[in-house]
Symmetry: C2
Subunit: 294 residues, 2 copies
DNA sequence: CACACTTACGATATTCGTAAGGATT
DNA sequence: AATCCTTACGAATATCGTAAGTGTG
């Protein structure tokens, strides 16, 4: 009662070759199979697509008018499913990532390179934004994947830890704090401090910890870019605290770092996914690569 | 290995209702059938279209992107086959007829009315042209059907007789020939003659017959329109010969007719079809109606 | 008789519905 | 307990290939 894709393929092959025998080779079917498929199709549409003369087939006017429609139908069909298949076989696709600047610059270059080698035709789009925006983008489906600190109370987001980072004190060379193997958080209050963006997750961590040890930073100024913090410290304006991953990015002559202790803070970093928006195949592949990376 | 139309239907129904149970009602299938069809489709395309959470289904990004494509695919599919079905069920279509002017005006009005009553949505297009042009139009597929005299030596045309006509002598009232019950061809030569277009099949018939009886018409003039012939005869300019079908069309006061004998000619009229171009369903229906008409 | 399409028939695959089995609210 | 999805299984259907049949050049 219902025409099938296969019947459409048969019709097109027969119409183009005007012969069942030749069509059977194109479609990789036996000649009788072609004959029957064509007959079934004609029963389905309620009339003859071909006029059977003695030894050859001729398209009826209806068949002739239907042929281009059938070709378009089949092409659209194939194209649609090839597209879909490409996406699932990760030969095509797009992944949008929202990552903390620290991770965007720190973890990303290596991961991106590996991913691009594995799936060269998948497009990667990276947004380096702050933690709250990351949560929002993942929540709204504007990003497939977030790379950030745990999202806290958001029950529509999942967090999967990937690596742990720690905070380090960053000082200009020759600074007294560098004489120690490690620096206690409480000691930071004694020096001018170069802060990073108050909205950033690390800054909020830092403020919270200082509060918990009962001290207050002597903040000289805040910078939005980590590199700026590095240069200001190198210039001797003050000291700072950075996640060690961030420090690695700006490590240059003139500054040095010491681990921060009392308390020793582990900063958990990982992947954020939405519960409401399932990950695409490409995004899942990237997640798996990130998991396997460490 | 190959997705099916039914699987596409299921996918769309599930995507729109976000529930297998509800989709099963739309598609008129059992719930397990929906579940399996969806799973098969996902196997076919190589990835998940839905993310199965505890009790509800959520489209994956791939499924979400595919949904509008699937809808378009299915709509195109349905539309194409509905069109085709309409053509075969004669609910739509077009028939182009090439007919001799005699038949176009004589046979046609009744047949057209019957056909249009039976198949109101089929478009009829009529070309009243001469016999040679009819043959050419049918041969080239520009007309589905010819209504004419037998096409002679054309082996790519078929002729099916429908009715026979005879020739009549047409005279103004009071003309001496009207005194007889029938007129012999040989008697025509004695009076001024109003001819019809030399290229028309009836004229060629007439000339041939006159030659065979060894007489020559005294041709006053030729007219292209049969109505013109009628008026000229009525005006007393001369007599004429017309197929009786044609005479009926122009029968008015002032002219009368008598059958032509010696020889008694039967003019065969019928349908011309192409051997190379099979008739459309609509054209076949018209042919059948014409056959049944007499 | 060779060629091209059709029919016949048995084997395989797909699809469906009923019934039973989880899992979640 | 109720709801929803999944799995299991037997039946109906569809599709295919081999083989035999039909008709034309």
């Amino acid at each position: 009662m219902n025409p099938s894709i296969q019947q459409l393929r048969v019709f097109i092959a027969v119409a183009h070759s005007r012969s069942l025998a030749e069509a059977s080779e194109r479609v990789h079917l036996s000649q009788p199979a072609i004959s029957i498929a064509l007959r079934k199709l004609e029963e389905n549409v309620g009339g003859a697509l071909f006029a059977r003369t003695s030894r050859q087939l001729v398209l009826t006017p209806e068949g002739d008018a239907f042929l281009p429609v059938a070709v378009r139908l089949l092409n659209d069909w194939n194209e649609a499913f090839e597209d879909l298949n490409d996406q699932f076989s990760k030969q095509r696709g797009k992944v949008t990532i929202a990552a903390l600047p620290t991770l965007a610059a720190g973890l990303f270059p290596q991961v991106i390179r590996l991913f691009h080698e594995a799936y060269p035709r998948i497009n990667l789009s990276l947004h380096d934004v702050l933690a709250e925006q990351i949560n929002q983008m993942v929540r709204e489906g504007r990003a497939d994947l977030g790379l950030s600190v745990p999202p806290g109370d958001a029950d529509d987001l999942t967090f999967e830890p990937v690596l742990e980072d720690s905070y380090v004190a960053v000082c200009p060379c020759g600074h007294p704090l560098l004489a120690q193997p490690a620096v206690a958080w409480g000691q930071l209050a004694a020096y001018p401090f170069i802060g990073i963006n108050r909205l950033s997750s690390s800054r909020q961590d830092i403020d919270r910890i200082m509060q918990s040890v009962g001290e207050r930073l002597d903040i000289l100024c805040d910078a939005r870019q980590i590199a700026t913090v590095g240069r200001m410290v190198a210039a001797g304006l003050g000291i700072s605290v950075l996640p060690s991953l961030s420090f690695r990015q700006i490590a240059t002559d003139g500054i040095a770092h010491r681990p921060l202790v009392e308390p020793t803070i582990r900063r958990e970093l990982g992947m954020i996914l939405s519960r409401r928006h399932p990950p695409s195949a490409a995004a899942s592949a990237l997640c798996q690569l990130i998991r396997d990376h460490e």
